[in-house]
C-alpha cells in the first residue's frame, strides 16, 4: 500500500497466550469497525490501516511492539491495550515518544494517574466498575451483611477492594472477602462458609466460567441470600446462562456495557458481530469497536497527523459511541479519563434485562427472590 493513501494506526493486543480470547474479540471488533469506516470513505479520502500486533500478554513484548510500531511502522497513534501490565509498559513508551495512545481495556487505576498527557483512556478504571450496583444496594436491597468473592486478578482484586470500601462507607458489614485463583473446579469450601454466614448479599467478581461454576455450586448447596450480585461482565454473557442454567436466573450483575443499552449502534454492533463471526461478543469487544470510531473521529478532526495535533484532537473528543458517550477529562487523580458509567442487568426468564439505573430500565428489578423456588427445589 502507498503511504500517502493510508493512515497507519497501531493496535496492541494479546493474540496468543492466556488472554488471547479477549484479544481476539477486540481484534475482530477493530477489524469490523475498520471495514465500516473505510467502507464509508475513510478519513478525508484516505483509508485507515490498523497495524494490529500481538503483545502475547507480556510487558516486555508489548514494549517491543510499541517501539516497532513507532519506529518502523511510523503509525500516527496507538490503540488497544488489554492487560494492565502491558498497557502500562506501552503507555510509558508512548508518553516518552509523545505518541498518542488511546487505551480501551487496561483498567489499573494508576495508568491514568501519572499525569501523562499523551495517554487517554476510554474504559473506566477498575475501581469504578460497581458504581451503579452500589446505588441499587442503597436504594432497593438495603443489605446489612455482605460477602465478597473475587478472582485474584488485577481487575478482580481492585474492584473487590473498592466495593469493600464502599460497603464500609454505606454501613454494610463485610463478613467475608476471599480471593481465588481463576480456573478452580471446586468452590464448595468457600461457598459452604458463605452459607454458614448467611449474608444478605453475595457479591462475586468472576469471569464467565468461574461465575457459572460458583452459581451452580451455590445452587447445589442451597445458599439463600437476599441477592446474588455479579461484579463483572462474567455474569452477563450468554455462556454464563447456558452453563449455569437455572442457577443463572434472577442473578444481577454490574456491567460496563450491554447490547440492550440505549446507545446508538450498540445492538447493531452486537448483531453484526454475531452474524459475521458466528460467536458472542461482550463489553471488551464494544470497547474496541467504540475505540475504533473514536480513532476515526479524532483523525477526522485533527489538523494534521502530527502527534501534537492528534493529541489535541483526542482531548477535544466529545462523541457518542456504541459503548456510550466518550469525553476525556481530568477528575479524581486521573488525566484524560473517560467517565463511562456502569449499569445493572438481571437475568429474567432466561433473558438479560437492563434493570438499573431506573430511567434506562427495560424491565422492573425483580426483588425479593425466593431462590429455592427459582432453582426448582
Amino acid at each position: 500500500s502507498f503511504a500517502e493513501d493510508t493512515i497507519k494506526v497501531g493496535i496492541v493486543l494479546p493474540l496468543t497466550g492466556d488472554q488471547a480470547k479477549f484479544g481476539e474479540i477486540e481484534k475482530l471488533s477493530f477489524d469490523m469497525a475498520l471495514e465500516e469506516i473505510n467502507g464509508k470513505g475513510g478519513i478525508k479520502g484516505k483509508k485507515i490501516e490498523l497495524v494490529i500486533e500481538d503483545d502475547t500478554g507480556r510487558p516486555e513484548v508489548g514494549r517491543s511492539v510499541v517501539e516497532k510500531l513507532i519506529t518502523k511502522d511510523k503509525v500516527v497513534m496507538i490503540g488497544g491495550g488489554y492487560s494492565s501490565s502491558v498497557t502500562y509498559a506501552v503507555a510509558g513508551v508512548c508518553q516518552q515518544n509523545q505518541m498518542p495512545f488511546l487505551i480501551n481495556t487496561g483498567a489499573a487505576d494508576k495508568i491514568t494517574e501519572q499525569k501523562w498527557d499523551y495517554i487517554f483512556r476510554l474504559n473506566p478504571p477498575a475501581s469504578k466498575y460497581s458504581a451503579s450496583v452500589e446505588e441499587l444496594l442503597a436504594e432497593v436491597i438495603k443489605p446489612k451483611t455482605v460477602t465478597i468473592l473475587h478472582e485474584n486478578s488485577l481487575f478482580g482484586t481492585s474492584s473487590a477492594k473498592s466495593f469493600e470500601k464502599s460497603c464500609e462507607k454505606a454501613g454494610y458489614k463485610v463478613l467475608l472477602k476471599q480471593g481465588y485463583e481463576a480456573g478452580g473446579i471446586d468452590f464448595k469450601p468457600v461457598l459452604t462458609q458463605v452459607k454458614q454466614l448467611n449474608p444478605d448479599v453475595v457479591y462475586m467478581v468472576s469471569y464467565v466460567m468461574d461465575a457459572a461454576l460458583i452459581m451452580k455450586q451455590s445452587k447445589e448447596l442451597k445458599i439463600n441470600p437476599k441477592m446474588f450480585i455479579g461484579g463483572a461482565a462474567g455474569f452477563t454473557l450468554p455462556e454464563f446462562q447456558q452453563n449455569a442454567g437455572a442457577a443463572s436466573e434472577k442473578i444481577i450483575s454490574a456491567t460496563l456495557w450491554h447490547q440492550v443499552l440505549p446507545f446508538p449502534g450498540a445492538m447493531d454492533y452486537y448483531n453484526k458481530f454475531k452474524a459475521k463471526f458466528n460467536k458472542e461478543t461482550e463489553y471488551h469487544g464494544a470497547e474496541a469497536y467504540a475505540a475504533a470510531y473514536v480513532i476515526a473521529d479524532v483523525l477526522n478532526r485533527t489538523k494534521s497527523l502530527k502527534n501534537e495535533d492528534i493529541k489535541k484532537a483526542l482531548s477535544e473528543t466529545d462523541m457518542m459511541t456504541a459503548f456510550g458517550p466518550v469525553k476525556f477529562t481530568n477528575w479524581d487523580k486521573m488525566t484524560n479519563q473517560n467517565k463511562a458509567s456502569s449499569y445493572v442487568v438481571q437475568w429474567i426468564d432466561g433473558k438479560l434485562e437492563m434493570v438499573w439505573p431506573k430511567n434506562l430500565a427495560a424491565k422492573p428489578f425483580v426483588f425479593p427472590v425466593n431462590w429455592l423456588k427459582v432453582w426448582g427445589y
Binding site: 496468543t16 492466556d18 488471547a20 480470547k21 481476539e24 468473592l149 485474584n152 476471599q178 480471593g179 481465588y180 485463583e181 480456573g183 478452580g184 473446579i185 471446586d186 468452590f187 464448595k188 469450601p189 468457600v190 459452604t192 462458609q193 454458614q196 464467565v208 466460567m209 457459572a212 461454576l213 451452580k216 455450586q217 445452587k219 447445589e220 448447596l221 442451597k222 455462556e239 447456558q242 452453563n243 442454567g245 442457577a247 460467536k279
Partner: protein
C-alpha cells in the same frame, strides 16, 4: 461442623478427579520414569475430543470416554514413538532434555488446539452436570461421585495389570533396565510406546469425566499437569493405589486449606505438601502404607 463435613466431602470428591489424572502420571512418570510436563495438555486434547463428539454427534461425555481413550492412546503412542524414544539415543549433558521435550509437546498441542478451536471457553451441558444429592445437610455432586467410582475401577485394573501380567512386568522391567529387558525378550521400544499410550488414555478418561463438571479452553491443561505431579509424588512413584490416596489427600488438603486458610492459598497447599513430601517423606505415602 457442617462446614467441616461439607469441606471434607468436597475434598474427597474432587480428589477422585485428581486421582484419575494422577494414575496416568504414575504410569508414565512413576513406572517409566518419563517426566511428562504435557500431561494436562493431553487431557485437554481428550476434553476437546469429548466436546466435539458431544456437539456433533450428541454423545454423552461418559460414552465419549470410550472414544477419547483410544484416541489419546494413539496420540500418546505417536508422541512416544516419534518424539521421546528417539531422544534416548541422543547423548546430551543434561538428562532433563526429555522433560523439556514434553514442555515443547505441550506448547504445540495447546497451540494447535487454539488454531482449530480458538481461545474461547467451551463446555457441555448435560442434565446431570449440576445434579447433587443430599445426605443430611451435606451435598454430594453426582458427576463427581461417578468420577470417583471410575477412578477406583481404573486404579484396580491398573494395579492388577502392572503386577500380575507379563506386559505389566515388562513395563516395569523396561523402566529399570532397558538392555536387560531386551535380552529377556521384551520389545522395549514397543513397551515404552504402549506405556505412554496407556498413561495418555487414562488421563483422557479424566478429561471426559471432568468435562460435564468443568469447562474447557486451550490453556486448561497446565495447572492439571502440576496437580498430577503433586499426586504422583504424594502417593509414591509408580504406586497405583498411591495415586488414588494421593489424589484424595490433595483434594482434602486443598479444600481444608481453602476453608481454613483462604481460598487464595488453596493451590499453594498442594505445592507445599508436594515439597514437604519430596523432602521429608521421599517415596510418598507408599512408604507409610507399603502398597
Amino acid at each position: 461442623m457442617t462446614v467441616f463435613l461439607q469441606t471434607l466431602v468436597a475434598g474427597v470428591l474432587i480428589g477422585g478427579i485428581y486421582s484419575l489424572i494422577g494414575i496416568g502420571m504414575t504410569l508414565i512418570m512413576g513406572v517409566m520414569g518419563i517426566i511428562n510436563l504435557a500431561h494436562g495438555q493431553l487431557m485437554m486434547v481428550a476434553m476437546y475430543i469429548t466436546l466435539v463428539l458431544f456437539n456433533v454427534l450428541h454423545f454423552d461425555p461418559y460414552i465419549s470416554l470410550f472414544v477419547a481413550m483410544p484416541c489419546l492412546f494413539l496420540l500418546g503412542v505417536l508422541i512416544q514413538k516419534f518424539l521421546l524414544n528417539p531422544l534416548m539415543k541422543i547423548e546430551s549433558i543434561l538428562p532433563e532434555n526429555q522433560v523439556l521435550m514434553t514442555v515443547g509437546i505441550g506448547m504445540v498441542l495447546t497451540e494447535i488446539i487454539r488454531f482449530i478451536f480458538s481461545s474461547d471457553y467451551k463446555s457441555v451441558k448435560t442434565p446431570y452436570s449440576s445434579s447433587a444429592f443430599f445426605i443430611g445437610d451435606i451435598s454430594f455432586s453426582l458427576p463427581m461421585c461417578i468420577a470417583f467410582g471410575v477412578a477406583l475401577i481404573f486404579t484396580g485394573l491398573l494395579f492388577w495389570f502392572l503386577l500380575k501380567t507379563d506386559i505389566g512386568r515388562s513395563i516395569r522391567a523396561t523402566a529399570q533396565d532397558k538392555d536387560a529387558a531386551t535380552l529377556m525378550g521384551v520389545n522395549t521400544g514397543r513397551i515404552t510406546v504402549i506405556t505412554f499410550g496407556l498413561g495418555s488414555a487414562l488421563v483422557a478418561a479424566a478429561g471426559s469425566l471432568l468435562l460435564p463438571i468443568f469447562y474447557l479452553f486451550p490453556d486448561v491443561g497446565g495447572p492439571f499437569t502440576l496437580k498430577a505431579f503433586v499426586i504422583t509424588i504424594l502417593g509414591g512413584l509408580g504406586s497405583t493405589v498411591g495415586a488414588i490416596v494421593g489424589g484424595v489427600v490433595l483434594g482434602i488438603a486443598e479444600s481444608l486449606g481453602a476453608t481454613y486458610i483462604g481460598m487464595g492459598y488453596k493451590e499453594m497447599v498442594g505445592f507445599v505438601i508436594f515439597v514437604l513430601v519430596l523432602v521429608f517423606l521421599p517415596g510418598g505415602l507408599k512408604r507409610l502404607t507399603k502398597i
